[in-house]
Symmetry: C2
Subunit: 135 residues, 2 copies
Amino acid sequence: MMVKELSQAANVSADSVRYYTRIGLLKPERDRNNGYKLFTDTDVKRLRFIRRAQSLGYTLAEIQHILDHAHSGKSPCPLVRDIIRKRIEDNRVKLDELKALQERMENALQDWEQRGDGVPDGDTVCYLIDLAGEE
Amino acid sequence: MMVKELSQAANVSADSVRYYTRIGLLKPERDRNNGYKLFTDTDVKRLRFIRRAQSLGYTLAEIQHILDHAHSGKSPCPLVRDIIRKRIEDNRVKLDELKALQERMENALQDWEQRGDGVPDGDTVCYLIDLAGEE
DNA sequence: CTTGACTTGTGTGTTGCTCACAGGTTTATA
DNA sequence: TATAAACCTGTGAGCAACACACAAGTCAAG
């Protein structure tokens, strides 16, 4: 199975398959004639696993880690739980930051709608932004 | 004024100052002897503007654009409003995605807390992830 | 046997930094 | 005055997760 076929079997872009191979998440054999990547049915499963894990918030590095761990025969489940706990925390922080940003942006825009335009001088590029507070 | 002094004057890391210079957001003179960057008071203002704009959600590329526009003498204000309107929309999408992700992660973890560990076999790496749904 | 459609691999660009590194400069001490 | 330590500099590379460009290879139709 070559890149395109695998990518369709797992509903993933061909470029992603190539990328995963590049970083070692997939390790296809190579066609001796032309160097093409050759995948197996196991790779389809592996790729589906990768996407499912990704949709749960795992990074590719973490998935790599989980796969390595599983390959050693031990249960990756505790690791899987630990990682997602941290990811949940991190995501909460990011979420809060984004919410705050969204508010700042909306407030600024609402304020700006009322005001006219200004021409830049030596001191201000755009007073709309300049007056948006210090922090 | 050299990198460190500017960075302190605007409360920015020295590496960020170097980065902004690299991408052309700041354009210091160079010391003929040693090639060191030489900044002026105007650069302090410019750098503060950059950070304020960033805290409002503008990307560096957009800030670059705004500065260029202002340099041509025209008012950048309409541009500034347009950009932030788009940024607000984009951010809303990202926010929704992150919220959905957070829910998926929390649901998965809650589910997983009840279950034991499994050992990987040929078909599943970690059934916790595998049973997390198809989509 | 040539045209054209399709695919492949690899290289590069993306965002906003941060870190590593080798070297230059300033300051303190002997 | 020499020298060592502390600090600063510029540049190059790395990060995440792809998307895109591009030349070269493959395959079927005519």
